[in-house]
Structure formats: structure tokens, C-alpha cells
Amino acid sequence: MWLPLLGLLFGAIIGSAISFEIPVVYVKYMSVAVLASLDSVFGGIKAVLEDTFDGSVLLTGFFTNALLAALLAYLGDRLGVDLYMAAVFAFGVRLFQNLAAIRHYLLDRHIKNYKERLEK
């Protein structure tokens, strides 16, 4: 249950421990990739809660979303269109939707449990 959180922490520690730094030029594209990956994480949790989870969908979605978002942002820069804003917007909206769904689901479950306990 707590393994994903531990994984997040583990990744963060690795990231801050290694001396690699993203070149300043790519920071913008990286930000979109980060958003995409966060979106995947919450989407995955939501899928788990809704019992529609599929590991391969999550993994492929994670990598393609992050890569495509960064690529689109890069393309937008070449074309002089701020496409990365669109990516930020899309992923932001989805992130909040996923979070809201997770919250709804947890709340529903909690209330159900509470009622069951009252009935006993």
C-alpha cells in the first residue's frame, strides 16, 4: 500500500543525490513532462480505486504522455506558438479531475464503512 509513496520518496532522493542537472534550455519541456508524469500517477490511483486498473495502459500512457508533451512543447517553440501552455493546461485540468475523483471515491468508501459500522 505504501510502496508507491516510498517509491516517490526514493525517486526524489535519487534525483537530488545525483549531480546531473537539467540544462536550462530544457527546463521548460521538463516541466511539461513532470506534469504529465504526475497526471499519470493520479490517473493510476484513480483507476485502482475504480477497479479499472491496467498496468500496461498506465506505463505506456506515462511514457508516451511525458514524451509527447515535451515534444509538442519543443515543436511549439520552433513554430513560435506557446504549445506548452496547452499541455500545461490540459494536464493541469486532468490532474485536478483525477484528484477530485480520488477524493470522491475515498469519501464514498469512508461514508459506506461508517454506515455499515453504525448498522452493526
Binding site: 500500500m1 510502496l3 517509491g7 537539467i22 498506465l58
Partner: protein
């Protein structure tokens, strides 16, 4: 183990990695690392300049002492007096004596009004560059000037006129605009070479430049060169 744990953990690890990397990149971005390094360099420069000042003072004191010794030994001996005159002449030629005389004073300043009027233009076109000063110096030399100083820095053989960022180095001293070039010579000839050269170019491109001619009733003053002459590699070829 439930089947969802592993994929989500993998995704979480990578997300954490990306997050911390991005975090690091942003953190190093905002407090401008170049600025920090610049500050370190500025303090280094300031320290070195202080050191230079100290050495300069030392040098000046030693020179004053030397002068005193040279003058005290004189007691009617014609030979020593002749030697002293020779020393004085050598010093004059080396630029180690403060001078005054007829001449010209040129003031060059950045074209700030022009830059304000065209803020999108390249600012390099509105500042005085070291090349401008070099050209004017060369033209003044063409006008047979005998001594030149820029903002109180006497030009001698080892003097450099060099661009370092937004200031100009002369005698390893940083000079900032307005640049006041003082030259001793025939004011009329100097004026003429000035008006047919770089000065005229600057004036016609809108730079706030000006010059004043000084005759013997109002002579210009030029300080002595306060640095040293070093001969590490030079040998007199006899």
C-alpha cells in the same frame, strides 16, 4: 501482492526523480548562479584594486624619498647638477612628471538620450567603446601631442586601453564614462585633427561630445604616470 502496486511504484519512482530534478533546476535558476559568481569576482577585483592602491602609495612614498635624497646631495657640485638635469629629462620622457601646458580637452559620453529614444535598438550603438578612444588618441598623436591622459590616467608606453565588460581599462584602472581626454600640444592643430576624425563621427551620430581649447593663460594639467616600468625580458643591445 496486488497487481497494481508494481506499475504505480515504477511510475512514482520516475515521477519523484523528475520532480526533484525539475526542483533542482528551478532552484538553481532563480537565484541566478552567474550573479553569485559575479559577486565573488567583484569582491576579488575590489581586493586586488585595494592591493594595487597600497602598492601605488608605497611607490609614491619611495619616489618622494628618492627625490629628497637626490636633492639633498646637491651642494654646488656641477657634475651632480648636470646628472640631475639628465634624470629630470629622462623622467619627462618616461612620463613620470606631472605636466601642464597648452592643449585640448575632449569629453566623450554615452548617448543615453539616443538610447532612450530608441530602446529596442542595440545599446552597443549608443555607448563609447574603447575603439573610439583609441582612434581619438591616435589622431591626437597625429596632431603632435606631447602628453595624453584619460580621466586622470597618464598614457605612457605600457598603458593599455582595453574593453572589460562595461568599463574601459587604462593603466589597469577602471574608467567609466564620461571620458575626459586631455592632451598637451598646439590647440589649433589638435582641434583640426579632431574635427576631421573620430570625434566628428561620434558627433554626427548624436553622441554628447565636446572639446575645449586651452591656451597658456589657462593650461591643461596632466598627472604623472604612477605605475612602474618593468623590464623582465629586455636587455640593452650594445
Amino acid at each position: 501482492m496486488r497487481k497494481w502496486i508494481l506499475p504505480i511504484t515504477i511510475v512514482c519512482i520516475i515521477s519523484g526523480l523528475l520532480l526533484s530534478l525539475q526542483f533542482k533546476a528551478q532552484a538553481s535558476l532563480s537565484p541566478n548562479p552567474i550573479g553569485e559568481r559575479n559577486e565573488a569576482l567583484v569582491s576579488l577585483i575590489n581586493n586586488l584594486e585595494q592591493e594595487i592602491d597600497q602598492y601605488q602609495e608605497n611607490l609614491n612614498n619611495l619616489r618622494a624619498e628618492l627625490d629628497k635624497i637626490e636633492n639633498s646631495t646637491v651642494s654646488g657640485q656641477a657634475e651632480i647638477e648636470a646628472l640631475q638635469q639628465e634624470i629630470q629629462k629622462a623622467r619627462l620622457q618616461a612620463g613620470l612628471l606631472p605636466l601642464k601646458g597648452r592643449g585640448i580637452k575632449v569629453v566623450l559620453d554615452d548617448n543615453q538620450a539616443g538610447l532612450k529614444a530608441a530602446p529596442n535598438d542595440d545599446p552597443n550603438r549608443y555607448i563609447i567603446h574603447y575603439e573610439n578612444i583609441l582612434n581619438i588618441i591616435t589622431e591626437l598623436k597625429l596632431g603632435r601631442t606631447e602628453a595624453i591622459s584619460i580621466n586622470g590616467q597618464r598614457l605612457v608606453t605600457p598603458s593599455e586601453i582595453r574593453c572589460v565588460g562595461n568599463v574601459i581599462l587604462v593603466n589597469t584602472t577602471r574608467l567609466a564614462p564620461p571620458f575626459e581626454i586631455t592632451a598637451i600640444g598646439n590647440p589649433d592643430i589638435l582641434e583640426e585633427v579632431l574635427l576631421y576624425g573620430e570625434y566628428d563621427l561620434l558627433k554626427s551620430s548624436g553622441f554628447p561630445v565636446s572639446y575645449t581649447k586651452h591656451y597658456s593663460d589657462n593650461p591643461v594639467e596632466i598627472p604623472a604616470y604612477s605605475g612602474t616600468y618593468q623590464f623582465k625580458f629586455t636587455k640593452i643591445n650594445e
